[in-house]
Symmetry: C2
């Protein structure tokens, strides 16, 4: 609890209604989309970039940790106030400032929910492609801080590819505006890109200039089932080699198919080792349909045992049912899950899935794998029951083995969720001691007091991760049941 | 001239044959694609990342400025050794280490000439899109350091969009490897992107991991002439709004058309205010041709007075003749030119061209404008004769006015050439004092001695540019005739 005089100073900046200091209020800022929890000392909801800047200056003066927060739907613990301090929630910065049709650019505040921006620009024929599964909850600022992805990102690129400019409050409260409404920029260091993916450790993003595209007018979808995972993978390679860049190329492994089939009884063959959802969008109905037919043919050529093509929106909805059912289906199997997010070079997808299968057997926990086959970003979901003694230790062994398997295959710890607290202790194994040193030098240069989202992304030492890293996370037994959190239902997708 | 003992130390690292200390040798490392010149104290051509690292350690110990250099075809003075010191030429690092077809990735050393990589990957059906006009001279490392673009970048993105990973020698000689063969990466700060576009001021790029695409199989081209610039601009907007993403959308203004017509007599109408070259590529001949027909129709609908469509490679070659003739045609008009590279929001292209026309009249110098209409990146080329007294002052007034016009329209100083020495003094007007402060903080964090490519990109003060900034550049009257330099013929394109 902060001294009342200090709380009054925050209230003088943002208004008393926007300072949250009561335990019941603070609870709302204590968790994210993982199972972690810690209550902050204070939470504030400023209403403008200038108020954010004044809050940051006050925190800097008082040496209080600052935790920038969007919707709290993150999947890596990035907004858990593990160091205590002040949560700066950006939800009141929720204005879409401009939809510039002539330049195909949107300007929006950080707290705008991603789906809202998408709907607004789509209404005028424009398109903001990044589509994290959390898009109905998560915010543009949070998406930028985590460099979020989604199924459409193989064709269209991730959040970083759409952020042309940012307004950022720096650690000392100064306001930086970088980038602009320009599609090419060789002027400054790429400061915009430095803040994208920095998970609130270098500054507080308050406003974004986002690139838009023309909205594709048509969409066509197919689903294919394979008895052999390698066949599905060879199909993905063949599709890309044929020069087709599908809007979506989603994969579910055999374990996931089984779990979904148990749940919904869609008639998916139990012998299937892989399911692909293939989608193309475009402006010409005939061309788009032809590309999907071509992908379907490639599936058959590569041994698909069943290929379904949607001819109507209702049929398309049916095809997506299997994919959408994944999260609720997993929830039925075990009460808890750790949704992972490793990325490997695309050709290493089958090897990673095989490795996860072996790890699943070794630790005795189900680990269904699904994700974005085109770009090698997979979500192995470790299912468990935290009430069972020793199960958390097995989760930890599985997660450790999955991280190391991805790294050994030339991959990386995170494709679209970020590092937060969850994978921080594995950073040295991914970026190496020199990489960590460079990251720390940049962190010190921009946040010399170390107050911006402390203990996130950057490990305190270069030691390799120790056993117990999961159980050491705060409040694993927190009072928020993780399956009840809205972000959970979408987690890892 | 450095002491012989020190030169011997360099020779011990790279071999005596790769240390260049004689005046005639040093001349080769004294210039770039601009009219600037200064001879370095020493030039070395190391043969490996490890040798680069040892050279950097030695320079750091001796506090010698280090100037990383690719082919020296840069258009902003980025490799001119204005501070003296040691040029580190990367031309011997010229190995293409891997073309990984399964993952669509190439791994290459920094000194590989861009066109060579393109040819090598195209031979196996892959495609490296960035296509700066200098691609037959310039290197992958130089392209990355300057974040180079080219005509294909509207559809395919610039160099930064293709660099997945880098090997960089840091200012203290440590070797950083960042990124990898992964298409999505939310793990580290975006260090790869921080080095891309940093113009050798933060580290020496020695190796690159580059994303490739499948090679488009067909290509179709059209040329359209407009009597009114606004009609051409409206056409560009209409093409994008129609959901067409052309491979190339090049614009030449009326002045450029006139200069080319004087040179080649292609029968281009003298009344034309704008010429567009529209190209599409793809895998389906019919679809690609249909999109070009559609673009041609949009040109006619928006008032094009003439539209030509190429049906054969020979016809395509004819259409490109006008665009390729620009540089030699300009060279006939005046012996010297300053090729600019501003970028504005796409809808501001006509306003910028109008403004340049007015500036041209004000200063009494021809300033043809051409460039990449789709992404708002234009190249106003200020033509002059440096032998005429006072002409350089007029060039300077014109350049200053063009920079400020672009900034006033929400644009930026450079789209694809970088800042170097040439535009450095205008940086504060573009990125602002806070932006400069952040850049300097990063520079200090990574290069505390300030030895990496000093006096480039970052201005020494926050003062606005003074008159005389051009004539203050070193050796404007240098002995290299600028029209004779291979990079010059392509300059600004």
């Amino acid at each position: 609890m902060l001294p009342p005089e200090l709380i009054a100073e925050f209230a003088a900046i943002v208004g008393a209604a926007h300072v949250h200091s009561q335990p019941a209020q603070l609870l709302a800022y204590s968790y994210d989309g993982t199972f972690q929890q810690r209550v902050p000392d204070l939470a504030v909801t400023p209403g403008s970039t200038e108020e954010v800047a004044a809050v940051v200056r006050l925190c800097a003066r008082e040496r209080l940790p600052m935790i920038p927060r969007g919707a709290g739907s993150g999947l890596a613990g990035g907004t858990i106030p593990v160091s205590g301090g002040v949560v700066i929630s950006l939800t009141r910065l929720d204005r879409i400032l401009e939809t510039d049709r002539a330049n195909r650019v949107a300007v929006a505040e950080a707290g705008v929910v991603t789906a809202r921006l998408q709907a607004e620009v789509e209404a005028v024929g424009l398109f903001y492609p990044p589509d994290p599964a959390s898009l109905n909850q998560s915010t543009l600022g949070g998406n930028a801080a985590c460099n979020s992805g989604g199924p459409r990102c193989f064709k269209y690129g991730v959040t970083k590819d759409y952020v042309l400019g940012l307004t950022v409050v720096l650690a000392d409260g100064r306001i930086l505006r970088c980038g602009g409404k320009v599609l090419k920029n060789a002027t400054s260091y790429q400061l915009t890109q430095l803040f994208v993916g920095s998970e609130g450790t270098l500054g507080v993003i308050t406003e974004l200039i986002l690139r838009l595209r023309p909205l594709p007018r048509v969409r066509s979808t197919a689903l294919a089932l394979f008895e052999r995972l390698d066949d599905a993978s060879a199909t993905v390679t063949a599709i890309v080699a044929a020069g087709i860049l599908p809007a979506t190329l989603e994969l579910m492994d055999g374990t996931t198919i089984g779990v979904v089939e148990d749940y919904l009884g869609l008639g998916l063959p139990r012998a299937a080792e892989a399911l692909l959802i293939l989608e193309q969008d475009g402006n010409d109905e005939e061309v788009t349909a032809r590309e999907v037919e071509r992908m379907a043919a490639l599936c058959r050529e590569h041994g698909a045992v069943e290929v379904r093509i949607a001819r109507t929106p209702a049929e398309r909805n049916d095809l997506w049912q299997a994919r959408r059912a994944v999260s609720p289906a997993l929830g039925r199997l075990r009460p808890n899950k750790l949704g992972e997010d490793v990325t490997v070079p695309p050709a290493a997808v089958p090897a990673l899935i095989q490795r996860v299968r072996a790890i699943s057997e070794e630790v005795g926990l189900p680990i269904p794998v699904f994700g974005h086959a085109g770009d090698g970003n997979l979500h192995p979901n470790i299912l468990f029951d935290r009430r069972r003694p020793g199960e958390l230790g097995r989760v930890e062994r599985a997660a450790t083995a999955i991280f190391r398997a991805a790294l050994a295959l030339g991959g990386t710890l995170s494709g679209e969720h970020g590092i937060g607290t969850l994978k921080r202790d594995f950073m040295v194994e991914d970026v190496g001691p020199v990489g960590l040193d460079v990251m720390r030098a940049i962190k010190r240069a921009l946040d010399p007091q170390g107050l911006l989202n402390p203990l996130k992304k950057l490990p305190p030492t270069d030691e390799p991760a120790r056993s117990g890293f999961l159980s050491a996370l705060p409040s694993l037994e927190g009072i928020i049941p993780d399956t009840g959190h809205p972000a959970f239902a979408e987690a890892g997708a």
